[in-house]
Symmetry: C2
Subunit: 227 residues, 2 copies
């Protein structure tokens, strides 16, 4: 890391921050330790590289790690990860609300902006945006102490025929996925009704804006619903 990017006191490199964030996201769902291969896959890197980094993060007391046993974030590691996520989501709100980007265009830019290191900047950005609670994809934005409401949305793929609900979020941020939803009229806040579930491939037929559409089971897994 170049000296021109010297960070605050606890100097985490972009790379370290990305590892911490990935470990955080992987431990959100399943409870146990986060495995080397899972991290390697998410970060599009090799298991050997992950092992190296896990040792380093462990050295810095950002994770608990023992050989062959996977990783857990320490409180310090968790705080760091949540702070990066806070910044990511605030910048996404900025890009959509102030610069008129679409929700499918902001993720990659936020991946860069999330590493800008200025606590003051984050707090002022939060204020400028009027302390938003959710990002453009429905994800909750942690406050400056790292607290946020855990809202247990249900995957569209779990709904039954005739269930009704509101689209509250997505669990996949790729532009391709979001553009596809947009084309189908599936945007945040939209009410929908499940009109049928296809026995053969699990695809879900829904009614949105009085129009009938259908999404594959894979897509339905990434659409989050509040009933």
């Amino acid at each position: 890391m170049s000296k021109h990017l010297v960070r605050h006191l606890k100097m985490q490199s972009f790379t370290e921050e990305n590892y911490l964030k990935t470990i955080y996201h992987l431990s959100e769902n399943n409870e146990g330790a986060v495995q080397t291969n899972a991290i390697a896959e998410k970060m599009q890197t090799k298991a050997a590289s992950v092992t190296d980094m896990l040792r380093k993060l462990s050295e810095k007391e950002l994770i608990n790690y023992k050989k062959y046993q996977g990783a857990h974030l320490t409180p310090l590691g968790k705080q760091t990860a949540i702070n990066v996520i806070r910044k990511h989501r605030l910048w996404e709100v900025f890009l959509v609300e102030k610069l008129n980007f679409k929700w499918d265009e902001v993720h990659d830019i936020a991946e860069e902006l999330e590493h800008i290191n200025s606590p003051e900047l984050v707090e002022r950005l939060d204020e400028f945006l009027a302390f938003p609670k959710n990002d453009p994809h429905g994800d909750p934005i942690p406050d400056k102490n790292g607290n946020f409401d855990f809202v247990p949305f249900i995957k569209l793929s779990k709904l039954k025929k005739d269930d009704k609900g509101l689209i509250m979020g997505v669990s996949e941020h790729s532009s391709a996925f979001l553009k596809h939803l947009e084309k189908l009229g599936l945007t945040l806040g939209k009410p929908l009704t499940v009109s049928a579930i296809n026995d053969f491939d699990g695809s879900v037929e829904i009614i949105v804006d009085d129009k009938k559409t259908s999404v594959t089971r894979e897509i339905a897994k990434h659409i989050l619903i509040r009933i």
Copy 2:
């Protein structure tokens, strides 16, 4: 450079961008080739490191460089440097105008933001800010084609007794310097009159807002005036 920060087509690292920017600024004033030691001093690094980087930038055709002869930006290198400067200055305007930072607080944050790689983001930011012509320190903001008016301001240190003028810029961005000016009431746009020049140490006595103050010759060199 980590793969998570893979940039656009012409992949310049933060470090390369900072070198190009420094070479650009050093060639703004004196015309000839930019010397190794001058770069080393501005970047707070060692001459040996500079030599390594000059060879690399030359390899990439961003500068013209021959051993012992110093460096010149190529058109491509100049364009890259100006684009980084454009981003730096636009972000400074954002920080001051939208997030209410003071002019002495924004430089370091902009040093990080200037490396965010998204042409679309820059254009939308420019529009959001209503296409500002100057940054909070009076420096001109290049347009998206890299063009900007060269405005030949005069250093306060060059003025004579009884000369009048407007403060149009500063050529030093450190927080300490800017805070000092602020304390003396020397902010952008302020009219001033030179009431005396001290023979002994060259310090400049001025009248601003009907009050008399005095700045050292060193400080006067960094205050830019339009008569």
